[in-house]
Amino acid sequence: MSLPVLEARGITKRFAGVTALDGVDFNARAGEVHALMGENGAGKSTLIKVLTGAYARDEGTVRVGGEPIAPRCTGDAEAAGIATVYQEVNLIPDLSVAENIGLGRQPLRWGCIHWRAVRDRARRALARLGLTLDVDQPLSTCSIAVQQLVAVARALDVSARVLILDEPTSSLDEREVGELFAVIRRLRADGMAIVLVTHFLDQVYAISDRITVLRNGRLVGEFAAADLPRLELVSHMLGRPCDELPAAGRAAASLPPPGAPLLAVRDFGRKNVLRPLDLHVHAGEVLGLAGLLGSGRTELARLLFGIDRPDCGEMKVAGHLTKIRSPGASLRLRFGFTPEDRKTQALLPNLSVRENLIVALQVRRGLWRRVPRAEQDQLTARFIQALGIKASGPEQAIKHLSGGNQQKVLLARWLATEPRLLILDEPTRGIDVGAQADLERLLAELRAQGLALIFISSEISELVRNSQRIIVLRDHAKVAELAGGEVEESTVMRAIADEGGAPPPHG
């Protein structure tokens, strides 16, 4: 085992009396990818911010290459050799790629910016990552993945020895994640110490050498990734024994749902969006939609909910021929939909938990029949309790809640309308493992209560755990429908990959 490049000992950080980090040790070694894992609130981001100088620590020491450091701003940390790339691309879209890499440290000649040197330096920084780009193009013309890589190049342009990646993959699709990981592997081979923060277990195992788990601000342990089974990692993160994990509670794939389907569509599609397909879902059933990003899952959900209109096919709701022309019509049919992009398409960020929760019910009742305040309060209290929503109170602005709790409020928004069908598009994206487990439990309960659910997720294991049937989409078309014993990760993967095609990514 090589000596750590970055060595943090006994890091403690308190906020107004609350201990966010309690005597945490953390090491990053040259030529290793070290994943930092933990649920939301475990102290990951606090630790990262202490290391990058965004927060001043209260106790403990940090050494880089044996030298103690005490960074007070990101500039100090950079000077000490710690470079950071954040979740959202934090660069300047209107400026060129070269300038984004050089901004704030442009080489000067005769007191003026030496542009040729700026461009050369940017090219070298990108070449180090194995990238050749037109460095004069505005950053905004690059894909998000390339922008992320430019951010890495910028971070490494100082003589960095430690690279911290804070959830770099959350807005990337699978192929782009692959590109980023190729760069990470290259840097690892060059002897860089890399710290990776991510929610995706698959990615952790795909690239990490070592895993440190935090829980409630304390260090649970540092493990070699190869010696830590996935289930054990999750149980460390949750602090629960393995048998209580949702992984154990596989949804009963046995019961064939009785009666006519609640929703059935035939030859249902839209030109250039979705090739015509058949689909049905019963009350008391979870129908999973699998497929890669861009396979047409979200497009199908939008057509079903009436956000976009189909141009062919027919739809039957509880046996009756129906046309849904708008989300409002869906609402009257007692359908609900939580979109993939929670932040921009579902949340009313500045409004309270209560206001976010009752809005769908209010829309359903119409403009002139205000939901009485007493009923609002009562509903909010009921769902906060029933779903275990962690908020300081019903009047807290929803933007201050964690992702998992926001998602629960959005779910409650629809549950308050007593729906018959819920379409959930990536409901577990960007939320921590504990909240994921809660949501999965809730899904099972709702199904038991007779709701029909359409569940979209990129995590195949999650789909398999929770769905009775799975429809697999590829390239905007339905390619398989799996039921009963076929609902297996390997089957889904094969369907997505089209059998003899590329093997499943992290099988």
Binding site: N90, P93, L103
Partner: protein, 323 residues
């Protein structure tokens, strides 16, 4: 540099085309329009607006707005006139005015930065304040009669072209300011930080750029350039008037936008603002040459041009998003 026209330069190229079109049209329609004198006057007459508009351009690039321009120009004018009338040496009076302008802008920037206040409101306050202060200095117009003005500025510093024609010092000031500001925007870290700040302030902060210093600096620079515009206006008018230049800030904003600067910040080009100013000036000149049209036609044409350029910019950015 690249051979292809970068997307961000298209609006500047478009306004340059409009400028040439107007100029060519004027030359074709009116005799003497193409004379050197008209061209020189175009620069000289619009120098104070151009200088102030360069300051406005920096502020807009940084993602802000400055509504105090007209008031500061007027304040500077009356202050210089009063000081000179009371026997202060003109260079000293000009220096005091420039210093006050920079200080005034810097203070507004400090308010905006320290308390995270909207620039629109802070500079609106600055607009009223500077206007009022101008009237406190002196409530009426004061003529400036001093050898420094009549001799040095108007004669010595003017560049003789022929026996009957010379380039006034105001025009020289305008060209020098545009050149200096272009260099500042393009070749200094401060200039680049202004662009970064206007494009995405949160990112600029996380990239470790000196956001606070840059923001205060931009408003100080704009205040300085407004004051310089005021000084140049005294060269041009030989007087100061606290009631003058109402709404000049809007002309400055229009010039910047017509010159390709995008109002949300982060995109723009300093020479484009000069083009914008010259377009405004040319429209004025054309209407003067035409003789029958009411001068309000200037405003109507400027309004139409503004709509046109805003639409053009929107179309370009939409096209950029799609490709």
């Amino acid at each position: 540099m690249k051979a292809r026209l970068p997307q961000q330069q298209i609006p500047v190229a478009a306004s340059l085309a409009v400028l040439l079109l107007l100029y060519g049209g004027g030359c074709a329609l009116f005799p003497h329009f193409g004379s050197l004198r008209v061209l020189i006057n175009l620069f000289g007459d619009n120098a104070f607006l151009g200088i102030a508009a360069v300051g406005t351009t920096f502020v807009i690039l940084s993602g802000g707005i400055d509504l105090s321009v007209g008031s500061v120009v007027a304040f500077t004018g009356i202050l210089v006139a009063r000081l000179v009338a009371q026997g202060v040496a003109p260079p000293a009076a000009l220096a005091i005015a420039l210093l006050l302008g920079a200080l005034f802008g810097g203070l507004m920037g400090l308010l905006i930065q320290a308390f995270d206040l909207p620039p629109f409101l802070v500079t609106l306050g600055g607009m009223f304040l500077a206007r009022g202060l101008g009237f406190m200095v002196h409530a009426e117009s004061i003529a400036i009669t001093h050898p420094f003005y009549d001799g040095f500025i108007a004669q010595t510093l003017a560049i003789r072209v022929s026996s009957r024609l010379s380039i006034p010092f105001t025009a020289v000031c305008l060209v020098a300011v545009v050149a200096g500001a272009t260099a500042l925007a393009r070749w200094t870290p401060f200039g680049r930080n202004v662009y970064a700040l206007g494009s995405n302030e949160a990112s600029a902060r996380l990239m470790g750029l000196p956001v606070a210093r840059t923001k205060v600096g931009v408003y100080a620079l704009a205040g300085f350039l407004s004051a310089l515009g005021g000084c140049v206006a005294t060269f041009y008018m030989q007087s100061g008037n606290p009631a003058s230049f109402v709404g000049l800030e809007l002309d400055a904003i229009a010039a910047a936008v017509i010159g390709g600067t995008i109002l949300r910040g982060g995109v723009g080009f300093i020479p484009g603002t000069l083009v914008g100013v010259l377009i405004l000036g040319l429209i004025q000149t054309l209407i003067t040459f035409q003789g029958d049209l009411n001068t309000w036609w200037t405003r109507i044409i400027i309004g139409a041009l503004l709509f046109l350029f805003i639409l053009l910019q929107e179309m370009i950015s939409r096209f950029a998003r799609r490709s």
